[in-house]
Each structure stands twice: as C-alpha cells, then as structure tokens.
Symmetry: D4
C-alpha cells in the first residue's frame, strides 16, 4: 500500500548527502516528502537534485510535494508572540501536508489579551487548536478557557534566563487549570500537527490516520 | 441553559463542611456531581447528607449521579502496572460520567509487552487511548506505535528514587518518538478524561462539549 | 521613636511559650502585633495570655491590634482560584495592618477569563495589584496586560505533580512577557504586602515606610 | 492617541531587515524607539537607514530618540560588580527613555560592603532602587535592609559553575529575608526599568504609565 | 592510643537500643561521647543507662563528657537568624567538645547589617569563622568581606518555597564573590566544626587533629 | 606484564601533539591503541605519524590495531533510532577491540516495536545486550522484558527540548520496571562495552578481564 | 513449566488483604515467595495465614521459602556505611533466594579506605560485586578500581541536605571514571540482585535465568 | 599601605584594551598582578604593553611578577585526572603568587587508588590539601580519609552527560562522609588557593592575610 504523506523526515543532524539520497529515493517512488528542521545548506543540496524542492526559511520546512492533496476540516494554529512563529509554521505546514485546513492566528499572547478576544470567531468550527507559546506560555490555558475543543499546547524555547530552555512554558502548560489541554515536547510543532490531524480526521468522520490514507488512495 | 454534567469538584484540600454544602447545593438543583480525590472522611460526611452518594476507594471518586446518562463512542484506558490503577480509574470514571464508553486494559506495561500485544483487539474502534504509567512510563510510546488514534499520556508518581515524583515518566512521555502522543500533568486522570471526551464526541459527530450537552438535553 | 506597625512575627517553627512571650512583651509596650503562619495551638496559647488576640483560620494570621489605624490609598489583591485564598488573605491582612485599603477579587483565574474581564473596574484607582496564583500562575501576566500599575506576583504551592511545589507558577511569573510584573517567593503573601504598602504610600504622597509612620504618629 | 515612548523593541533574534523596517515605520510616524539586546550588525543596518540611531556597546541599547523628554523623580540603579553593568545599563537607559531620572552606583557588591555603606546618601530621595547582581546576588537584600523604598532585584547570569546561568542569584533574591524586595527574570534590565518607572510616576503624583503619557502629550 | 574526643555519633536513624549500647561501650572504656541529631526519646533511653548524659533540645546534641578538656584558640560561630541557631549550636558544641573556644554571634543576618557591623570586634583574634544562614544565605559573603580568616559557610534548610530545602543558601555561598569562603553540606554544623577545629589547631601551633590529641594526652 | 588491549584513550580535549605522542609511544611498544571521541583533525595528525591508523567518522573511534585478536562469545548492540548509532558504534568497536563478537541491531526503537519483535533471534546465545537509546529511551526496558541476559542501558543525548541533554532517557532507564537492566552515563558507549566484555568473558569461562589477557598472551 | 523462584513481590503500597491473598495463592501452588519492602503489619497478616513466613526487620524482606535451594557461584555485597545495610540486605537476600552465594562486606566506605583494602581477599573468585552507598557514593568507583569483575552500583537515599534523596550518590556512580561500573535506581537492592544473579549464572556456565531454573528443576 | 599581592584579576569577559590598562596601571605602581582565565589574545595584548608578562596555556594564568616573593609553609594540590590539571594549576599558581609553597600530585584519582596510596608521604607536613576532581569527584573524600588537615575540594566541570557541568562532582564533595572537607564552586581553583593560603599562614604563625602582608612589607 502506498501511503505517501506519512513521509516526514527529521533533517537535523542528518549528513547532507544522506539526506539528499532519502529525498531522491522517496520522490523516485512518487512519494511526497516533508522535512522538518532543514538547514539552508541541506535545502540547497536537495534542490540541486530535485528542482521542485521548496524550503521555508522561517519554519525550516523542506518539501517536495507533487500530489495536489485535498484538505479537510479545520484547525487553528495560534502563537503568543512572533518569536514563536517558526514552531507554529512547522506545525501548520505539517498539518497542511497531512491534508488539514489551517487557520493561523499569530501574536495573540496574553500580554495583549484583547487581540485574542477580538478574534474568537477564528476558532468557530475548528476541530482543535494548536497553541504555541514560549516564555510564560499562558496562551494555551487562556485559549482552552475560551473554546470547547481540544487544545494542543506547544511550549517553545523562546525567552531567556529563568525560561530554562522552554521549561517555564512547559510547566505552565502542564499545570494549566483550564480544561481540555494536552502538551507536547518543547518546540515540537511536528508532534502537535500529527495529533491535530488525527483529531481533525476523527471529527470529519474519517477513522484513523492510515486507514484514511488508504481510502483516499482508492478514490483517486 | 442547564449543563449539569460539567460539575466536577476537586475535593482535595476542601474543608469537609464546605464540600458537603457544594454537593447539597448542586444536587438540590438536580445537577449530578462527581468529586475527585475525595477522602473517606469527606465521603462519610457527604453520604450523611446525601444517601445516594457513592465512593470508590481506589480512585477516590465521590459521585452523586441520578440521571441515567447514555454513553457514546468508546475510548480505551490502559495502565503499565497495578499501582497506576487509581489514576486510571479517576480517568475512566470521569469519562463515563461525561458520557463516554470506556474499555479498561490494566497492567499491560512494557516489561511484559506480550500481554499488550495479545490484547490489541481492545483498541479497535476506539476514538482515542488514555495510557497511564509511572516509573519509566514507556507504555504510552509503545501503544502510540501500535494504534492510529490520539494517545493521551498520563504520567503517574508511582515509583521511587530517581522517579522524582513522576518526573521520569513525564519526561519519557514528552520525549516519545512515537507519533500521536500528547501529555497531561502527573497523576492527572481527570484532565486526560476531559480531553478524551472532547475527542470522542468529535469522533461521534458531536461538535463540542457544551453544545453536545445542550443537544442531548433537548432529546430528553 | 515608637513605630508599632512594623511588628510582624513569623510564627512558623517558633516554640509556643516563646511566641506567647513575644506577644506579651510587645503588647505590654503598647505595640500592635501581627503574626503570620500561626497554628491553632499557638493562637490558643496567645489568646489565653492576651484575650484581644484574634486568629483567622484561613490566612493563619494572629493579630493583637488595639490602635485604630487609618487606612490610605488602595491596592487590589486577586487570586486565580479559591485554593490561593490563604496566601492572598495573608497579603491582604498584612497590608491592612500596615494601613493600606484593600480590594479583594478572588477566583478570577485565566481558566475563566470572563470573570476577570467583567471586574476590571475594581482595578481603577488602585496604586498596585497583588496577583496570587498557583498551578500555571498565568493570572499575573493577564492582569499586568490589563492594568498600568505595578503587579506584584505571588506564586503559590497550590497544585500537584509537575507544579513542583510552586516552581511552575514561579517560573510563569518570572517569564511573563507582560509589562509591569515583579515576583516574590512562593506563598510569600507577607512580602508582597510589604512592597505593595511601600508603593501605595509613595502614591499617596508619603515618602517611605518608616518616615511615614513617624509623621503619622505625630498627627495623633 | 499618540503614546510614543512605549515603543521598546526586543532586538535579539529579529532578522536585520525586519528590524530596520520596524525602526523606519516608527520613526516615520515621529515615534521614538529604543531597542534592547541589539547586535553591532543590527545597529549598523539601522544606522544606515536612520543616521540619528545611537548604539551603546555595553548595554546593547539601540536608540532613535528625537523628542527631548523631561525626566522626573529619581531612582537608583546599583550593581554588585562591573560584570553586571551591561544589565544595569539596559535598566538605566530604558528608565531614562521612559522619563525617569537615574543615579548609577556600580560595583558596590557585598564583598566590599564598605563601598556601599559610604554611598548611602545616593539613595536619599529615590522612589525606588534597581539592584543588579550575579553570582551570589546578595546585594539586593543588603540594600533592602538599608533603604525604605521598594528594591527591584535583577539577578544576572554573571558567574560560572554552580551559578547555573543565574539561578543562584535568582534564588538568593527570591529568598531574601530583607523587607521590600521583588524580583524579575535573570538579566531582565528592561522589566525592572518598566516597574521602576511605574513606581517613580506614582511617587511623583502621576497615576499610571499610559495616562501619564497622555497628560504629558497635552502639555506639549 | 586512647583518642576519646573523636567519638562523635550521628544519632539520626539509629535504633534506640543500638544507640544506648554504643554510648555504654564507649563510656565504659572511659571515652567521652557526643551525639548529634539525637531525639528526646533517644536521650531518655541513654540517660537511663548513663545518668551523666546531657541533652540540648535546641541543637539535639547528646553528650557524655567526663574529662575536663582544656579549650584552645578561638573561633566565631554566627547566624543570620534565630531559626538557624539549632545548626549553629551543633557546630559550636561539637567544636567545644573538640577543645576549641567558641564565641557565639547570633541573628546578625544581612537584613540588619548594622547589628553585624557593630559587633566586628567579636571577630578579632579568631582563627576562623563558621557562618550559618538559611533563606538567601548572604551572611557568609558579607562576613568574608569583613574578616581575613577562613569563613566556613553552613547553608541551612530554614525558609520555604524557592529555598528548595536549603538549595538557595547553598548556591549563594558557593557563588560568593567574597574571598575566603568554603562551604559544607546543608545543615551540616558538625562538618563545619570539624574543619574549624583543624584550622584552629594549626593556628595554635598544633599540627594535626590526631597528633594533637596524642600530645595532649601525654601532658596530663 | 604486557597487557596491550587495555589501552583506550579518551581523545576529547587532548591537545593534538600530545595525542600523537601517546599513540606513538604505545605503538612503538607494540601495544594496540583505540581512541574514543577523536576529531578528524586529531585523526589526520595521528595518521601522518602512524599510517596504519584508521578512523571511523560515525563513532569517532581512532584505532591502531596490529594484532589479529581472536574474538569470543557474543553480545548484541541495539539502538532505538539511527541518531543513536554513533554511541552504539563506539560501544561495538570498543567491545570488538577487547575481543568480543558483536551483533548489531539498529533502529528497532519502540515506536516501531514490530521491527524489534521480528528480530528476536538475533538475541539468542548472546551473553548480554547493550541497548542504546535517546529521547524517551524506552528500548532498554522493552528488550529486558524479552531477553534473560543482562541489558546494559546507554542513554543518549539525542533529542531536543525536554530531553534535557539525555536526562529523559537516563531517568527512563533507571526507572524501568523490567528485570535485568543496569545503566551507564549518557552517551557512554565505552563504559557499556567494558562491562559487556567483562560479562561476556565470564560467560565464556574466562575469569577476569586482566587475567584473561595474561593467559591469552601466554598462548601466543 | 514451573519456575517458582521468580516470584518476587513488591509489597509497598499493596493493601494487606490483597498481599495475603498473593502469598496464599503462590504457596498453595508450592511456589516460594519473597516480598520486598514489607511492613511489620503486612508481615503479621501474612504470618497469620502462613506460619512459615519470616520477616527481616532490617531489609524488610518477607519470605516463604520451603524448597531448599542449592546456591551456586559467589558475589560480594558491600556497603559504604551501616545506614546502607537495609538496601544491601535486600540485595543479598534476593540474590540468595535466587540461588546465589553471597559474601557480605559492610561499612567499608571510602572515609576509611583501609578497612576496604585489608579485605580485598573477600573479592577473590566473586563473579561480580554489588556496591551499596549513599551520601557521596564513592565506594563503587573505588571498588571497581580494585577488582576486575562487573560492579553493580546501588545509590541509596541515605544522607541529608544536598544528597537530594539519593541524587548525589546516583550522579557519583554514573560519572565514575573507574572501568566496569553500571548503576541501578536509588535504593534498588532488588534490581541489583537480579542482574548479579544473571551474571553469576553466566559465570557458572548456566546460560540464562529462566533456562537455568528449568534445568535445575529437572535435576531434582 | 601597599599590599600588592592581593591583585588578582578575573580576565574572562573583560575587553582586551580594558585589561591591558589594568595591568599597566598596577605594574606602573610597582604592584605585581596575576590574572586568571586569560585568553591567548589577552595575553598577547598585555605582553605587547608589558614584556615581562608570562602566560601559562594550561592554567590560563597571566602574570606580571617582579618581586621575588619568599614562599612559606606548604600545601598539596592533587587531581583525580589529567583533565583536571588546568583548574589545579590555577590553584597552585595563585597559591604560589600569594607566597605559599606547593607540592603537586596529579592524576591520582580513585580509579587508580594505588597511585595515591603510594604517594602518601607527599602529604606529610602540609598545612592543608586542595583536591581537584571532576566526573565522580571522589578524590576529595578519599584524601580526607587519609590526612588530618583540612581538605579544600574543588569540583571541576570535566566529564560529560550526567556530570551536568560539574554538578556531580560538587554534590559528591558536599556529601562526603569523610571528616575535614569543605567545598568551593565548580572550577574555582582561585577560591581554593585563597583559603589554602589563609590556612597555611595561620599554620605558619602568621595571623591574617592582610596583616601578614603588612608585616612582611615592614621586613623589606
Ligand atoms: N520536528 C520533529 N520533531 C520530532 N519528531 C519529528 C520531527 N520531524 C519528524 N519527526 C519524526 O521523525 C520521523 C522521521 O525520523 P527520521 O527517520 O530520523 O527522519 C518522522 O516519521 C516523525 O515521526
Ligand atoms: N483530579 C483533578 N485534577 C485536576 N483538576 C481537577 C481534578 N478534579 C477536578 N478538577 C478541576 O477542578 C474543577 C473544580 O475545581 P473546584 O471549583 O476547586 O472544585 C473542575 O471543574 C475541574 O476543572
Ligand atoms: N510569612 C512570612 N514570610 C516571609 N517573611 C515573613 C513572614 N512573616 C513575617 N516575615 C518577616 O519575618 C520577620 C519576623 O521574623 P521573626 O523575628 O522570626 O518573627 C518580619 O519582620 C518579617 O520581615
Ligand atoms: N568515551 C569514553 N567515556 C568514558 N571513559 C572513557 C572513554 N574512552 C576512554 N575512557 C576511559 O578513559 C581512560 C583513558 O583516559 P585518558 O588517560 O585520559 O586517555 C580509559 O582507560 C578509559 O577508562
Ligand atoms: Mg476548553
Ligand atoms: Mg500512533
Ligand atoms: Mg501593565
Ligand atoms: Mg527595606
Ligand atoms: Mg575575607
Ligand atoms: Mg529480562
Ligand atoms: Mg574494575
Ligand atoms: Mg581527614
């Protein structure tokens, strides 16, 4: 069974020639590939081998996407500040790559709660929310207090001093007294996108991630 | 709008007379109540005031449930060991109180991986899984590698020494390389049950937790 | 120079006979005394020696206050949940003992941000705010985003698991991206009240804490 | 309403072209801008676009200040050692940018307590003190024991080994038994300056930070 | 060779009958014994067997001392607050038991630096200083800045919240920028007394702890 | 007594000329040398002096091995992911250098438990297993649940965020509820290989590591 | 296949009636049982049901052992101090229950290295060593420097202050630069005994733990 | 009063021109200067200005020493491994600069306890010992068990993984059960040398560090 979209490569730390080979092998089999945490150097090497490769400097996502995938349902990806956008974009682009519609709502952190409150309509109809925040990380709890769908909290390493590399935001999210929050690893946009896609598919009537793929393949 | 089932009380640290009053006020209004982390002493005082009150020694859940709530969908609650059962039961009973069907699968931790593998059919058709584990906490990752629905990981404080009160299981779960895991606070069965119910409702075609309630009320 | 109101005793860990002696010596000199973290047993012993002694079970404040102190200015003491009230009351009562008017606004945590937003008028005219919160501790940042006076954040040890005895709330507050927050030790209502009183006096045109006292004494 | 002085930019991590644009947009609207943690490279790019830009190598503050702002009241900024001066200067220059008079008192740490004691007159008339210290961080407590106004403690990451990136100074300050101390994040000179300005305005009879601005604007 | 005074017993956790036996065996051989961290219950049992046993409730030192030991040299034991006295007394009494003259200077912590400064003469002629402090633990650094002999810093677990069981004072002391400080474990009055005695003997012209004993024995 | 194979050099941090000299001295005496954590630059310098030197880029092992050592028994080295291979290869090559037969089984982590289960025959007849894993580190516990020989767990620093430099995998391994696991330091492939060789020799009827060597030398 | 001796029960936290049932069921089937961390209360209840039950107050091991098991090979269990004996005895008795000969060598910690050095003959012929130590935990490294068989290090929670519940000894052991050490969880005597038995059997020519049992059963 | 030798400069982080100026000013006044943690670049700049400047690459000590200082007494500086030598040399050279005779004993760590034991005569007559060790840091406790003078323990950041930047050695030293150990900050060779010099002077009959200087000056 061809599954395709499940091919997400974690580029960080992979030797460039090795990475190019992975991309070549997969695309040769007609499989679309998305890499996370790709460096510019890795991008340039892959691009030379596969001209369709596109790289987003902010999210460091490196994609070779040939199929025109139908997107279903809808999730919201929001951030506390602009420094959290790289992680949020990793989440958003992975979710889109997996066939999920994404609404972005960036820089609505609790320091300016009014920006969030005046954008509540963006959450309507979403099957779940990915809340990305560093420093104090309070966004996730505030959002969960306002919506009734699952909030997947992504702490980021944004900040300095007593943020201890993301620990502060992580603890905030784990200890939130708002209902409906679960948490992933610091800076793990990918992991949040994966779960959000699972939930979105369930909400769209699909059962599971891999079955869904199989069924869709048959439709083509 | 009457919502009722959302009344979950966190009993720990509440003065007994104060707790009795909360139970009396709510049940007087016809609202069902579930309390978590209730002590035997709290139970006995509530029981005296409200004879229908039932208490489960293992999970420390204290319930006054008069409505006969229809349960929908299905989730699995599994544990690594028997010492994790109190937290698992808090999760299972809260989910049931919120109207979710629950399959229990206890003591299937990775030390005896065969017990888990020979019970994989229990996961079929479940909209999500709550994996409860202390000590090394590896259960969540193993389960997530085997199923395609969201796994909500609940680290427990079970263990000693370098478990540091649940930190070891928490870090294991946050760092899992399996896809589809999110994590809640140490021993937070309640929080896992809340999110699992949200996901289960989405999978059953209901939209949100509170809307769902409203619709159901109309059906009566 | 008699100063009186500066007599705050930290009762925890003090032997009861020793504590009674402290209260007797001070009150014999006409000095009002406030003790923090007093146990019921300590209260009963002091009460026997000094019938005017009053004790508040929630805040564990044990007071012998004979002078009828004029209160000036105004501060707000708010909490995230009801479990934070003991610390908040320590802060509020110490501030009042030091001659500060206090507005209480409890249980307005971010899980229910609407309760906070519909009470914004309480903050008008306050010279500063003491924000008391445990678990995720996000209240301080949200309040600081809404007001323009200093917010003194008091993390509490309320919570369990990954709250690590108040560390989670402490880190949240230290890392807040809202402007105008400073933080004191976990559960240190007393310390927050002291600084809030200093700020309130400055705002009322008084210069310093001890000079203020001296001037006021002369007025009598 | 034009507010102007509230424009403080956190330069660290911002792409240089993006930062230049921010400075251009604001100054084009006649708004003064102060950036913290600006690199030399960022400075040179901004300077090219806006020749009035000035950069201080020590504090890494990058300013475009055209209005000749009246400074009011007075605060003291003191440090334990010379290695703490960069953080102290960030605090001092931000406070001045916000219209506060600042007295600097550097290198008066507790290892040489006599230098501090022989400079006590510098504190007279100050509305509050910013105490900046790394390593053991004891300066804040010693100063608070000597003055009667609020002391805002800024732990720095100066030191090595068991300073754990500023944790040692942070814990010292949070645990001080001196009255009148509150603490901000490690190396957070900006945050301390913001609160100090709020307190200084209250002491000068102004009410709040933004109202103050509004009133002042009217005066022009 | 009879050495005697080296017999210091760590009573905590020892079964009472076992402890009584230790005391009996040693005293039967004419050896003086000092026990640290002895409970009242342990004291009463030892007392019954050896009527000369004396116990100090504050320091929890339990002594059977029959020889009339000459004390030499002089050290100072000082504390930040009164809550640190139990640890300080353990240090002082152990040092005295080892034959060292001790000057006590309690409650001179940095919150009231003037008390310390007006008692500097107490340090004159001392061969070293034991500085005992909890909470922020700044006393050791301040003292080391004022004297020219070694300062042995003893952090205590006194405090709450972010003192993390003595960690705050420990880190303060390890990171002190004053010259001449070394540190022992949290609450380890005994260990400080041992080293102070070694230094004191060196300063008195004796060479080592055990040789010293031997020589002294001969003098008798 | 010539021992030879015990010459393992820890290259990291050694000055290149110094390292070259160590290799020259030992090989001049006919002793084989294996260096761990050697950089390319160190390799090139050693190679210039000793042309037989070989370096493995992945494991960073730098070897001069002239004797043709007989390998005995058998151990398994397995990894959770491909990023753990450098540490695993350090272990495998050191064990081989010490005369142990090694079976490699890489990338069989718990996220894909089926790969491990379908390779169980590789463990048959092995005297012990070295399980190398980062991130959640669950591999060691799963393997120990499946085999009956000692499992030496090597946590790696592979991962990001809340892996805290390998702490997450370390705690997982220390807290495993599977029987038969012991743990070495993070990334310590060398240490695991040493113990595995000791066990393998015991299983092969040899007594100890150094005696074994002596005996073997005699055989030549 | 009957295996019997593998029945080790972790008693801590198990309800007494539940524990009695476990013991009854197993002994009824002729299986010997050893329980670790059994309380006196648990012992008395089990004793009432099974008069042959014996309990050791020091190690808290609760045994029903009817078979007269032949012991093979030999291991050494040593401790740094007497306070580590409870953990050491858990290890020693479990190893004996599993059929291993055990030599005990207690209170030979590094503070008195001579006691260890004058007992080196005890290590001759042992297949491995279990080194149990709290506080600084240096014993394991010293022993590993002196012997050539695997040393299984067991950190204990013995100590106070900066031992942080056993963390200090744990880190010491993990970071030992002596060859041949692996580490188990804090206070985990059981886990060390399990691995030591595995190694001892390999050294005695048996292959694996469970096979060994099977073979032995046949011999009877 | 001229004191001279107290001029020790902490070079790390100081701007090169600033550092050159410090050296020039002091040497111009005839004061000898020793700098710690000086980089090669700093050395070269100072050398250009002051040709007598000498720099030791290992310890990174940068000295301008014109006076021919008489050295008194004797201390021992020992290390666990060769990687600890830079810190040990900082200690040794600072002590010598302060007029103390130093015996070096390097690479005698507990992994090879015999090297230490066969060198015990080196400790005879020393007034105190500086024990420098990383990784497990057990050297200090072993030495203190063997000698009767104060042992100043210097943990180093040497190691990797669970050494956590020197934390492992620090905790080992703080928790040592040997008598006569005190500890300084991680890698703080300077601090140890300062205290060792104080003790050495006391043992030589001098009273204090600065008095000693004064007296010596008079002798010239
Ligand atoms: N940013 C990321 N963080 C965590 N896991 C990731 C990330 N990107 C990809 N992955 C996971 O890593 C797997 C690929 O790893 P690899 O085979 O090393 O490329 C994917 O299937 C994902 O499960
Ligand atoms: N075991 C639990 N852990 C965390 N939160 C809980 C738990 N049980 C109940 N809650 C939450 O606590 C709320 C009730 O808190 P309270 O008003 O203090 O009784 C519920 O609505 C839940 O959101
Ligand atoms: N709850 C509290 N937390 C911290 N410090 C306190 C508290 N209550 C009182 N204090 C301080 O403790 C001092 C009295 O301590 P004591 O002399 O031990 O009674 C007061 O002057 C305050 O500075
Ligand atoms: N990667 C490693 N990690 C830990 N210890 C090692 C490593 N490689 C070698 N060693 C140890 O370091 C010793 C050599 O250290 P050195 O004398 O500094 O080269 C060897 O005998 C081993 O005990
Ligand atoms: Mg919600
Ligand atoms: Mg899955
Ligand atoms: Mg504000
Ligand atoms: Mg003050
Ligand atoms: Mg000094
Ligand atoms: Mg096994
Ligand atoms: Mg060995
Ligand atoms: Mg000694």
């Amino acid at each position: 069974v061809r599954q395709g979209f499940e091919e997400v490569v974690y580029c960080q730390g992979k030797a460039t020639p090795h990475l190019v080979k992975i991309y070549q092998t997969l695309t040769a089999e007609g499989i679309d590939v998305l890499g996370t945490r790709a460096s510019r150097e890795q991008y340039e090497a892959v691009k030379e081998a596969i001209p369709e490769a596109v790289w987003d400097e902010v999210s460091r996502v490196l994609k070779v996407e040939k199929r025109d995938r139908k997107r279903i349902g809808r999730i919201v990806v929001c951030t506390g500040g602009t420094a959290d956008v790289p992680v949020a974009e990793e989440a958003a682009q992975v979710a889109e790559f997996f066939g999920t519609k994404v609404t972005r709502l960036y820089d609505v952190g609790v320091a300016g709660i009014h920006r969030l409150l005046s954008n509540m309509k963006a959450f309507q109809g979403a099957s779940c929310v990915i809340a990305v925040a560093g420093m104090e990380g309070a966004l996730a709890g505030v959002v969960a207090g306002l919506v009734d769908v699952p909030v997947i909290a992504v702490p980021t390493s944004v900040g300095y001093g007593a943020n201890f590399g993301g620990l502060s935001a992580l603890l905030t999210m784990l200890n939130s007294c708002a209902n409906g929050i679960t948490t992933v690893n610091i800076d793990n946009g990918y992991g949040a996108a994966y779960v959000a896609t699972q939930i979105n598919r369930l909400a769209c009537g699909g059962r599971h991630l891999s079955e869904e793929v199989v069924e869709e393949e048959k439709d083509e």
